[in-house]
């Protein structure tokens, strides 16, 4: 089987509200031009297209259909779509390349969270008979998880604030971040609760945005890119949806995916943690030590474009390899309530 690498990545700025449509076209047109232009490719050069997005984020059926307009998909293209974060579209594209049918793929995800009330929309991801009728919101649920970890001694409100301070500080180097700046941990801890024990800064912002990655195999990757980020392992798993039946202080699906993807030995990890305590949880699940730089982009706490944020984590991690800054990196994506589903992608440079 042919090796597959990330050869290009582009993303929009993470912003609180775009003026564009919910089908993402306005966000996708420029990043397609950026990523393809950077590689000297055009639409017909891409063997497979795959996207991730959500109808409920847009508030209407088939919202992904118009996104295809941004491609200029005529002559027709080979294309698929997942109703998941686009990190899983990347997985599908990786599989497609591994079959040998194509040697390039473009993956994209987009979301305009500002169109609806995200905390309520996400209640529709819960059990429709037993849980959704209560309309639990995503922040309230995360608060329950955060407290479990705090009271088990796995993390603390201070440790969570430290994650936020580090993320915002790191995001100063990321011009596309929605939030950034130097913040003091004591000041953060003095803030009021949003959903005790969570404060507003513990929660990812509401973000509109999109991201895209180009994958290529073997020689094609070497041809397109000086230092491809070779995918040495990629795996994803899901846990039970039962909120009161699974241990919310860990993530068996992350542990298993990390093991299968070979998380050991990475120097940089971009973790898709929409809440500060989840970064700590994921770090523990993946066994990442203090020597691993986590979320140097600022991570999801500084910009959370739903259905693109997981793909962007893989892109941000890959970029460290593409730029020659790192040898071996990890990108993680999550989907569903309270880290129910997780994907780990390990990449490395080969000099």
């Amino acid at each position: 089987m042919s090796d597959v690498a990330v050869v290009g990545f582009a993303q929009t700025p993470s912003v609180r509200r775009t003026t564009g449509t919910t089908n993402g076209v306005e966000m996708l047109v420029p990043i397609f031009q950026e990523v393809l232009g950077g590689l000297g490719l055009s639409t017909p050069d891409i063997g497979f297209w795959c996207s991730g997005s959500s109808d409920y984020l847009a508030g209407r059926a088939f919202s992904f259909v118009s996104a295809v307009d941004a491609i200029g998909a005529f002559p027709p293209i080979t294309e698929s779509h997942v109703e998941m974060d686009a990190a899983w579209a990347l997985y599908e594209a990786w599989v497609k390349i591994r079959t040998g049918e194509v040697d390039t793929a473009l993956v994209y995800g987009f979301g305009k969270s500002s169109a609806g009330h995200l905390r309520r929309v996400l209640a529709l991801q819960l059990d429709p008979y037993l849980v959704t009728p209560l309309w639990p919101d995503s922040v309230g649920l995360a608060g329950i998880q955060a407290r479990l970890g705090i009271e088990s001694g796995l993390w603390s409100e201070r440790a969570m604030a430290e994650v936020v301070a580090r993320s915002r500080s790191d995001a100063r180097a990321n011009p596309l971040a929605q939030l950034s700046g130097e913040v003091d941990v004591e000041d953060l801890l003095a803030q009021p609760y949003l959903a005790d024990p969570l404060r507003a800064h513990d929660c990812a912002p509401i973000t509109d945005g999109a991201a895209t990655i180009v994958l290529a195999s073997g020689d094609r990757a070497r041809e397109l890119c000086e230092r491809p980020a070779w995918i040495t392992g990629i795996d994803h798993r899901v846990d039970s949806p039962s909120l009161g039946g699974r241990d919310l202080t860990t993530s068996p699906s992350t542990v298993a995916a990390g093991k299968a993807a070979g998380a050991d030995g990475v120097s940089v990890a971009e973790l898709h943690a929409p809440f500060s305590h989840q970064e700590i949880l994921l770090r523990q699940a993946l066994g990442l030590g203090d020597e691993v730089g986590v979320n140097p982009s600022g991570g999801t706490l500084c910009g959370n474009p739903m259905f693109a944020a997981g793909l962007a984590r893989i892109g941000e991690a890959a970029r460290r390899v593409l730029d020659g800054e790192a040898e071996r990196v990890l990108g993680h994506a999550t989907s569903g309530p309270l880290l129910q589903q997780n994907l780990v992608c390990v990449m490395e440079g080969r000099d």
Binding site: G20, A70, A115, P133, W135, G143, G245
Partner: protein, 316 residues
């Protein structure tokens, strides 16, 4: 570029969900002020019930009664309740492990203040007065060491369905290109745009030309007459219909446009409409105009000779 138009988009529906045997028993018991769970393959009692075992995926059918009292495993404070949530005053979301259960149930606790909440506290079910066989029959939990209200047997039929209202509120935004088209309509003008790559004229204009992936740009004002490319005669009544059937829904290709759009053709018997028929817009009274294609009430025949098939065959 003009600022895009936006408007509220309401998505609301009362979903009707059939329950199947396992959930049906749970919901029927709730109506009787009883909480039940199911025994899992490993002996654990799942509350709320799991239809299929989380470990073995086997169907679970052994119903186990549990208490309406229990202990809080974890919680968060909802200072500003949202639409649809169990209480309209501040409350706690909590995972409650009911006595006799091995998994915790998510619900609200009416504690009044976060100061009254702690992990490990005892709570009991506050039953809703009017119970229908739904998770909301548990109005919420309340801090208490006392038992909850006694079960109230009824001889009603088993609960087999629930109704789940979904009410979501969005703000829908038109693209900048479509917005200029809509603003043109408000003035009685039909403003298309040409794709800078392929030169085709799109009406409405597009944020991305579907064949080239670039926004349409150069404005092209189009006349309000054109050709019916194809059509159907609608004979079926349906929800939200505006006109009494039969009537014609037709693709109209305006002169100078490279793409047709669907509209109504009236002003002649439905069976007189033909592919190739020449039609013109019948506008509503000016005072009713807004940023919508509905300013054109319908199209009607112009009486001109039909357009030759070749002039529109590539638009079918």
């Amino acid at each position: 570029m003009t600022k895009p138009l936006s408007a509220p988009l309401e998505v609301g529906f009362d979903y009707t969900r059939s329950l199947g045997p396992t959930l049906s028993r749970f919901m029927t018991a709730l109506r009787q002020r009883r909480v039940t769970g199911v025994r899992g393959s490993d002996g654990r009692v799942h509350v709320p019930p799991a239809e299929y075992d989380p470990v073995t995926a086997e169907p679970l059918t052994e119903v186990v009664d549990v208490a309406s009292t229990g202990v809080v495993r974890s919680w968060s404070w909802a200072a500003e309740p949202l639409e649809g949530q169990p209480l309209d005053r501040p409350f706690a979301w909590a995972l409650v492990l009911l006595d006799g259960a091995d998994t915790a149930l998510l619900h609200a606790v009416d504690a009044g203040s976060p100061d009254r909440m702690r992990t490990g506290m005892r709570v009991r079910v506050r039953w809703a007065d009017d119970r229908v066989g739904a998770i909301t029959d548990i109005a919420c939990f309340e801090p208490s060491d006392e038992p909850a209200l006694e079960p109230l047997d009824d001889d009603g039929d088993p609960v087999t369905m629930i109704t789940s209202p979904v009410r979501l509120h969005y703000r829908h935004t038109a693209s900048a290109e479509e917005s200029s088209f809509l603003r043109g309509l408000a003035e009685g003008r039909l403003l298309g745009q040409r794709c800078p790559a392929c030169g085709k004229v799109y009406l409405p204009p597009r944020p991305a030309c579907p064949t080239d992936g670039v926004p349409t740009a150069e404005e092209v004002e189009l006349p309000d007459h054109g050709t019916v490319t194809t059509f159907c005669i609608v004979n079926v009544p349906f929800l939200g219909q505006r006109i009494t059937p039969p009537y014609v829904a037709a693709y109209v290709l305006l002169d100078g446009a490279d793409i047709a759009f669907l509209h109504l053709v009236l002003g002649c018997a439905a069976d007189e409409v033909r592919m190739g028929m020449r039609v013109e817009a019948v506008w509503k009274p000016r005072e009713e105009w807004g940023p919508t294609l509905q300013n054109i009430d319908h199209f009607r025949p112009t009486g001109e000779p039909d357009a030759p098939y070749d002039t529109y065959s590539q638009h079918l």
